[in-house]
C-alpha cells in the first residue's frame, strides 16, 4: 500500500476512534448530551456535524494558508475561523433550502445549532496545528465527523437503556447521563493502541 494512502487511512481512523472528539477530547459535549435522546435525532445531528466540519475545513484551510500566514496574522486564527464558519453555515443553509429542501428539512434545526459548535472550530484549528496539508485536513475532518456520529449513535443507544432502568432518584436525569457518558468514554480508551497496529505490516 502506498505510504500516502496508508497515512490518510491512519488519519481517518485516528479521527473516528483514537482521538474521538466527544469521548476523548471532550469537545462538542452540548449536542452530545442534548440531542442524544433518540437514535434518529442523533444520526441527523451527527450527519449535519460531519457535513459542516467538511465545509468548514474546506473554507478555513485556504484562508489560513493564503491570507493569515503570509500576513503573519496567525494569532487571529480563532476569531477569523468563528466568523467564517458562522457565515458559511448560514450560506449553506440558504443554499440547501433553495436547492435541496428535503435535506434542509431533515437537518432542520441542527444546522444553525452547529454554527458555533466547539467541535467544528476545534477540528479546523487542530488540522492546522497538526500541520496537515489540504487533503489530509479534509480526511481528518471526515474522520472526526464520523467519530462524532459514532459517539452520538452509541450514546443514544445507551440512553435508551438508561430510560428503562430504575436509577436512584438523586441520579435521575443529567447525573446518570454523565456517569454513562464517562463509562462510554472509558470504553473508547481501549482504542488507544489499535490504530498504530491496524495497518502494521
Amino acid at each position: 500500500m502506498p505510504e500516502v494512502i496508508r497515512n490518510l487511512i491512519l488519519i481517518l481512523m485516528a479521527g473516528v476512534l483514537v482521538n474521538n472528539y466527544v469521548l476523548q477530547q471532550f469537545l462538542g459535549i452540548c449536542p452530545f448530551l442534548g440531542v442524544s435522546k433518540k437514535v434518529n435525532q442523533a444520526v441527523g445531528m451527527g450527519i449535519a456535524v460531519t457535513f459542516v466540519m467538511l465545509c468548514a475545513t474546506a473554507a478555513t484551510y485556504p484562508i489560513h494558508t493564503y491570507v493569515l500566514v503570509p500576513l503573519k496574522l496567525e494569532y487571529l486564527q480563532t476569531i477569523v475561523f468563528i466568523l467564517v464558519i458562522a457565515a458559511l453555515v448560514q450560506f449553506v443553509e440558504i443554499v440547501l433550502k433553495k436547492f435541496i429542501p428535503a435535506l434542509h428539512a431533515s437537518l432542520g434545526v441542527y444546522l444553525p445549532l452547529i454554527t458555533t459548535n466547539c467541535a467544528v472550530l476545534g477540528v479546523a484549528i487542530n488540522n492546522i496545528t497538526d500541520g496537515y496539508n489540504f487533503i489530509e485536513s479534509m480526511i481528518s475532518s471526515l474522520g472526526v465527523g464520523l467519530g462524532f456520529l459514532l459517539a452520538m449513535v452509541l450514546f443514544a443507544g445507551v440512553r435508551g437503556r438508561i430510560e428503562n432502568c430504575p436509577a436512584p432518584k438523586c441520579f435521575r436525569g443529567v447525573p446518570i447521563t454523565l456517569v454513562a457518558a464517562s463509562i462510554v468514554a472509558l470504553a473508547f480508551f481501549g482504542f488507544a493502541g489499535v490504530v498504530e497496529n491496524l495497518l502494521a505490516v
Binding site: L83, A87, F91, K98
Partner: protein, 270 residues
C-alpha cells in the same frame, strides 16, 4: 499603524462574508410565507398532534399551502384559534367541539383486588403483557401511569390506583387515549355531563366478582333515559353524546354507581 492591518483584514473578511450572505439571500432565498407565520401565531404551540398533523408548524403549513381548508382542527386552541385562522384565510370558521379525556374505570384499590404481585418494570404496557395486567378485572386501569408520562399538560394523576384526568388542565389532544394499553381513556365533548366509569365487557356476574364498581349490564339506565341516549352494548352501558342532555337520570338509578354526573368545565366531576 501596525494594529491597523489586522483590523482591516478582519473587517475585509467580515465584509466578504456579509456580501456573500446578502447575495445568497437575494438569489437563493426562499421567501417565507407570511400567511403561514401568522397562522402559526394563532395556534397554541402545544405540538400535540390532535389536528392530525405533525405539530403546529405542520398544520400551519398545510393551511397556508391549501392542503386543507378546515380551520377548526385545533382542539387545544378551540374557538379562538379557529376564528383567528379563519379570518386570515377568509373562510368560515366551523364550531370547534372542545374535547376532554376521561378514564373509563372506577376500579380503585378498595373495590378491586390484584390477581398477583407484579414485580416487573413499572409501566402499564409491560404489566399488560403478563396475563392482561395484575388487576382482577382485565379491563381495569392498571395505574402504572403510562398516560401520566405522555400528558403534555401534566393533567393526569394516579389516585387510589387508577388514573384521574383533571378536566381543567386537559386540552383534549388525545395522546393518552393512544398510549393506554387498555384503551380505556376516551375523548368526549367537554359539554358532556354524564360518563360511564367502567369499561368491562364481561358478563354482569363476572364483573361483579372482580370489582364492586363495575357495570353489571342490568339495563336500568337504558329504561330510565328519556332521550334514548344510553344503551347497554356488549355488557357495558354506553352513552351516545349526540343525544345525551345530561339530565342525570341514569346516574340516579345505577345500582353500582358506575355512571357519574358532573360538570367537566368546572372540574366538579371528580
Amino acid at each position: 499603524m501596525e494594529i491597523l492591518i489586522p483590523i482591516l483584514i478582519l473587517v475585509a473578511i467580515a465584509a466578504v462574508c456579509a456580501v456573500l450572505l446578502t447575495v445568497a439571500d437575494k438569489y437563493f432565498g426562499v421567501p417565507t410565507d407570511e400567511k403561514e407565520a401568522s397562522i402559526r401565531d394563532c395556534l397554541p404551540g402545544a405540538n400535540c398532534g390532535a389536528c392530525g398533523y405533525n405539530g403546529c408548524d405542520a398544520y400551519a403549513k398545510a393551511l397556508a399551502s391549501g392542503e386543507t381548508d378546515n380551520p377548526s382542527l385545533c382542539i387545544p386552541g378551540g374557538d379562538n384559534a379557529a376564528k383567528g385562522i379563519a379570518s386570515i384565510l377568509g373562510v368560515e370558521a366551523g364550531d370547534v367541539v372542545e374535547q376532554v379525556a376521561y378514564v373509563a374505570c372506577g376500579g380503585t384499590c378498595d373495590v378491586t383486588k390484584r390477581k398477583f404481585d407484579f414485580q416487573g418494570h413499572k409501566s402499564c404496557r409491560t404489566a399488560n403483557l403478563a396475563y392482561c395486567g395484575d388487576k382482577l378485572c382485565s379491563f381495569a386501569c392498571l395505574g402504572y401511569g403510562d398516560c401520566v408520562q405522555v400528558c403534555p399538560e401534566k393533567a393526569i394523576d394516579i389516585i387510589d390506583g387508577i388514573a384521574h384526568i383533571d378536566p381543567r388542565k386537559c386540552i383534549g389532544c388525545g395522546i393518552c387515549t393512544r398510549t393506554c394499553p387498555k384503551g380505556i381513556i376516551h375523548l368526549i365533548p367537554d359539554t358532556s355531563r354524564v360518563v360511564v366509569e367502567c369499561s368491562s365487557h364481561a358478563k354482569g356476574a363476572e364483573t361483579r366478582k372482580a370489582c364492586t364498581n363495575g357495570c353489571i349490564a342490568c339495563g336500568k339506565c337504558e329504561k330510565s333515559c328519556p332521550h334514548d341516549a344510553i344503551h347497554v352494548v356488549d355488557n357495558l352501558a354506553t352513552i351516545d353524546y349526540s343525544k345525551c342532555t345530561g339530565c342525570g337520570k341514569c346516574a340516579e338509578v345505577c345500582p353500582v354507581r358506575c355512571i357519574h354526573e358532573g360538570n367537566f368545565i368546572c372540574g366538579a366531576h371528580f
